[in-house]
Symmetry: C2
């Protein structure tokens, strides 16, 4: 009634409401996931929580898988933000510290958001093959770029250990290659391979831990991870104190 159109910004009231509802759906979905795992993300449960009908959600997401895809993108982006922040907040003078910071942020995020980790890196709940386009692949590339920065920081120390490496640019995804060659000119393909291998190393322990496979073997996954990172740094011939 009063001040009808006055508070409408660049968008109309309709779109604003729509955006709010969309956000609420995603929020509720994330809450459900946090409390019941990825499989608890159910259109009917979301609708129940919102006082709506399940079918109403189809006005916002074409399908349940579409919703999950968007969620994966959001969550993956949060992860990318977390590790990027850790990387940037560590002194560039000390590659060891930076790597430890990145690795620690990765694990901490995973332990703080185990369901999110499963959503991003595990079976994203029935059927569902990865979407090949959207926020998730972009976040994945950000994480890979971060890893490449890590490898680039290590490269001056580690290069001499990779002289027999047989990697070529053609071994990697074209998009990734473009990004790497733009961001780190002069960096050889072997360093990208190193980046991916570091990813694997960190992902392995964290993944085992999140999925509960470490818990049945060790009571100190934390210590194990720190040791792994220490040995990683050592295996790159990086001095522990810069």
């Amino acid at each position: 009634m009063a001040g009808t159109a006055s508070r409408a910004g660049s968008t109309g009231r309709r779109e604003r409401l729509r955006a709010e509802t969309t956000a609420e759906i995603k929020d509720v979905a994330l809450e459900l996931m946090a409390s019941g795992g990825p499989e608890a993300i159910t259109l009917r449960a979301i609708a129940r929580e919102m006082g709506m009908t399940a079918n109403a959600i189809y006005g916002y997401f074409a399908t349940r898988d579409d919703l999950v895809t968007v969620l994966i993108g959001d969550v993956y982006t949060e992860l990318a933000d977390a590790v990027d922040t850790a990387w940037e907040s560590a002194s560039a003078d000390s590659p060891a510290t930076r790597i430890q910071g990145w690795a620690g942020a990765f694990r901490n995020w995973a332990l703080a958001n185990p369901e999110g980790f499963r959503l991003v890196y595990g079976d994203p709940v029935p059927g569902y093959d990865t979407p090949h386009g959207g926020a998730a692949p972009e976040a994945a590339h950000r994480v890979c770029a971060g890893l490449t920065a890590l490898a680039a920081a290590a490269w001056p120390y580690a290069e001499h250990l990779h002289e027999s490496s047989e990697f070529a640019w053609s071994d990697f995804d074209a998009g990734l290659v473009d990004k790497v060659r733009a961001d780190f000119p002069g960096l050889p393909p072997a360093a990208v391979a190193l980046a991916l291998r570091i990813w694997g190393r960190l992902h392995g322990l964290v993944s085992l831990e999140v999925y509960g496979h470490l818990r049945t073997q060790t009571t100190s996954p934390d210590k194990l991870f720190r040791e792994e990172v220490t040995q990683l740094v050592r295996s790159l011939d990086i001095p522990l104190r810069s």
Copy 2:
């Protein structure tokens, strides 16, 4: 009719039929999983395939999760067999070769049975928390024991790199500790930590590959894995040629 009880071995006809049906249920379930992923394991689909009613399966497995648990145990045991065989068939004289064999067998099994890998190491399909007892934990311990054998073989070379290690027996599961101290007397806790870290290293790349995260970054996951194993051996100070 003829020879009624003659061919009944140590068990009666009733039990034999029962065992056969149980086996058929598991076989069909594994087929469904192979063709449609873990989430395709459905009591109704299995029953359909067998010309039965879904409820008939409840005579053999109390619940769908029970069936899945048994399947995980079976599949995990197959994996343990595969890596054990690879380990034993490689010359004990060359730790490097043995480690490469173990790692290769692990990855090959995972790539040949991606759904099995997901069943064992991923979300085993909705809800479902790990069973804590049965064939799966036993297989897990076998794999860990295999990894410890790996670490034990590497230890003479790698020990000097782990002098600052702070691990104690109390950092590990009591059952695992007993097994290790019986099988490898004299091996310190740090070596068990090394075994678990090696597990993480191998699991990481394989897991990323099975779940399709490597595919979007590299076209040569194979080369990447071989490089990782090579660097693993190198990081343990093991001579490549014994």
